[in-house]
Assembly symmetry: C2
Homo-oligomer: 351 residues x 2
C-alpha cells in the first residue's frame, strides 16, 4: 500500500472522512485510526528506531515522517498521527527530561516551587523546526489522508513535572493543587500556553485535526477536574475553535465527559468503560465520540474482536459522529495484522 492511497473519502469529497466525522457530517463508515499506531507494535518501527533514542527520533524530520507514515501504509487507517511525545515541547523549551524505555518520561528536577514554574518558558515555533518541517512534508505525502497533531493537556503534563515521572496515583500532584492552588494555576496556566503554542505550530504547518491528550484526567473527581484542570484545557482548546477539529482524550473519564466537551472539544474520546451510545447521552445533543475498543481485547483472538468492533460501530450510531479508535494506546505486543483487519472490518460494515 502506498503512503497516499487513493482514499475512498477523497474520491467522494475534498474533506477527509475524519474531519467530516469530527464535525458531525455523515460518511460511509466511521474513520479509523489507533492511538499509538506509530509505535512498537510495528516491526518496521522497531527497525527504524534501533539505535536512536525516543527524543532524538522526535527531533528528526526524516524519522518523524517515516514513522508517521508507517501505519498508514500498513493498515490503511483513515488518519495519520504525528509521531512525537507529549513531553517534546517541554524538552524543546529546556526542561530536563529523558524518556526511559519501559518507564516513560523522567524529569531531572521535579517542578514544585514558584521559581521552578517561572523557569518554564513559552514555546515558539523556532523551538521545534523539525516538527513544522515534518508536518509540511507529511501533509504533501499523505494526500487525502489527514494528519492529526497533538499535545499533552496541562493536568497530564503537570503530573509528570510534579511527580518527576509517571505516577499511579498522582498523589503529589493532587496534594500540590489543593495545598497550593495559586502555584498550581500558575503551573497549569504556563503549560496551557506551551500546549496551545505547540498545537498552533502544528496547525500552521498543516495538520487537519488536533488531539489534546489528558490521559490521566480520570484520576480526578469532577469537582477537582472542574476547578483545577478544565480551565487550563479550555485555554488550550478554545482559541483553536474554527481552525481544525479538536479531539479531547482521557481514560477513566466516565464522570468527566460533559466537562471535557465543555472545555472546547469537537470530539470526546471515550474509553471502554462507557458504551458509546451512553457516552453520547451524557455528552448531549450533537456530540461526536471517539473510541472505544478495549486494547486488552487485541490479544483475545479474532472472533472476540470482530464481535466487539461490530458492537462499537453500532453503539457509535447513537452519537452525531464516531471516530473508531481504541480506548487507549496500542499495546507494544499487539499483532499488527489484527489492527489491519479491524480497519478492513470497519470499512466493510454496512452503513
Amino acid at each position: 500500500m502506498s503512503a497516499s492511497p487513493p482514499s475512498r473519502e477523497t474520491a467522494e469529497s475534498p474533506t477527509p472522512l475524519l474531519v467530516r466525522a469530527a464535525t458531525g457530517r455523515p460518511g460511509p463508515y466511521p474513520p479509523v485510526w489507533f492511538m499509538r499506531q506509530a509505535g512498537r507494535s510495528l516491526p518496521e518501527y522497531r527497525a527504524v528506531r534501533a539505535g536512536t533514542t525516543m527524543l532524538d527520533a522526535c527531533r528528526s524530520p526524516e524519522l518523524i515522517t517515516e514513522i508517521t507514515l508507517q501505519p498508514v501504509r500498513r493498515h490503511g487507517v483513515d488518519a495519520a498521527i504525528l509521531f512525537s511525545d507529549i513531553v517534546l515541547p517541554l524538552v524543546a523549551t529546556g526542561v530536563g527530561i529523558d524518556i526511559v524505555a519501559g518507564v516513560g518520561p523522567v524529569i531531572d528536577k521535579p517542578i514544585r516551587t514558584a521559581a521552578d514554574i517561572d523557569r518554564l518558558r513559552v514555546l515558539d515555533a523556532g523551538d521545534v523546526p523539525y516538527v513544522a518541517d515534518a508536518v509540511r512534508g507529511l501533509v504533501r505525502e499523505l494526500g487525502g489522508t489527514p494528519l492529526i497533531g497533538f499535545a499533552g493537556a496541562p493536568f497530564t503534563l503537570a503530573s509528570y513535572l510534579v511527580e518527576g515521572g509517571p505516577s499511579r496515583d498522582h498523589a503529589l500532584t493532587k496534594a500540590f493543587m489543593h495545598a497550593e492552588p495559586q502555584l498550581w494555576h500558575r503551573l497549569a496556566g504556563r503549560l496551557a500556553e506551551i500546549a496551545r503554542a505547540y498545537l498552533t505550530v502544528q496547525i500552521d504547518a498543516g495538520v487537519q485535526t488536533v488531539q489534546l491528550f489528558d490521559s490521566w484526567a480520570g484520576a480526578l473527581s469532577l469537582a477537582d477536574y472542574t476547578e483545577f484542570a478544565l480551565p487550563h484545557s479550555r485555554a488550550v482548546l478554545e482559541p483553536l475553535a474554527g481552525r481544525v477539529p479538536r479531539i479531547h482524550f482521557g481514560v477513566n473519564t466516565g464522570e468527566l465527559l460533559p466537562a471535557m466537551r465543555a472545555a472546547g472539544a469537537d470530539v470526546v474520546g471515550v474509553d471502554w468503560r462507557v458504551p458509546l451510545d451512553e457516552a453520547a447521552r451524557r455528552l448531549g445533543p450533537g456530540a461526536v465520540v471517539q473510541g472505544n475498543l478495549d486494547p486488552a481485547l487485541l490479544g483475545a483472538g479474532w472472533p472476540v474482536i470482530d464481535a466487539a468492533v461490530r458492537r462499537i460501530v453500532e453503539q457509535g450510531r447513537g452519537a452525531s459522529g464516531h471516530i473508531f479508535n481504541l480506548g487507549h494506546g496500542v499495546p507494544p505486543d499487539t499483532d499488527p495484522q489484527v489492527l489491519t483487519r479491524i480497519v478492513e472490518l470497519v470499512h466493510a460494515l454496512e452503513p
Copy 2:
C-alpha cells in the same frame, strides 16, 4: 488508648456502630476505618514487621493480632480489619506465591490452562488455623470495636493468577476471559469457592462484618463485569446473607456500582470519583455506601483534608447509611497523625 476502649456506640447499644451503619440504622456519626490502616504508615507496624516476610506475618496469630490492634489503639477507629492479604488463602491451599516488597504478589507459575485451574483446591478451615485463632483472640481483645474480615474477589484474584502478578491493564486476564470463557468461569468459580470458604472461616471465628475486595473490577466495562465477574462475586456473597454485613469494594467503579450491589452487598465501596450522594442515587433506595476520601489528599495539609471530610460526611447523608473511609488504601508514606485527626473530626461533626 487501650485496645478495647469503652466505645461510645457500645455504651448506647450492643450493636457496633459499623454494623448499625451497614444495615441502614442511624447512629451519632458515620463509623470510620481506613483500608490498609494496619500497615506501613504506622511506625509500630514497621517495627514488628522488621525481619519477617509479609506472608509469615500473615501466618502468625501473634503478629496478626498485634498488627490488627495497632490502628485501633492509635487512631480510635470504629472497626479493626484483620491483618492479612488477599492472596493468603491461595498460598494456604498450595499456590506458589511470594509477596515482593514494592511489587505485590508474584505467582511462581501463572495459571492459564484447565490443568492449572484444576490444581487449585478449595480451602478448608484446617488450612488457615492461624486466621481462626487470631480472629477469636481479637474479638475478645477488641470488646465493642468490631472486627472486619475480608477476602479478594474472584476477578481480582484471577487477575493476579493469570498475569503472574500485579498488572496495569489486566490485558492477559481480559483476553483470557473473552477467548476462553469456559476456562475463565471454571477459574473464577473455583476462586469464589475459596473466597467463600475463607470468609466463612472468619465469620465462624467471630468477625462481625466482611469486605470483598474487587480492587481491579473497575478495569472492566459493565457488560464484561456482568458476564465475567459478577456471578462469581455473587457466589461468594449471597450464601453469607444474614450472617454478617457484606461490604463490596473496588476502585474506578462508577459504572459498576448497581451491579456490585446486586452481587449481594449490604454496603458498596465508592472511590473519590463519584460523590457519595450521587453514588447513593445510582445504587437506589436503601443503599449504604463506604468511602470516599481521595488518599492523595492525605498529603495536602489539614485545611484541605478538613474541608474534604466535612463535604464527604455531608454527601454521605444522601445515602441510607455511610461508613467513612478512604477511596482506596492508606499510602505507606501517610503521616499517621492525620488519620487520627480525621477520626476525631468525623466523631465530632454534628449529626
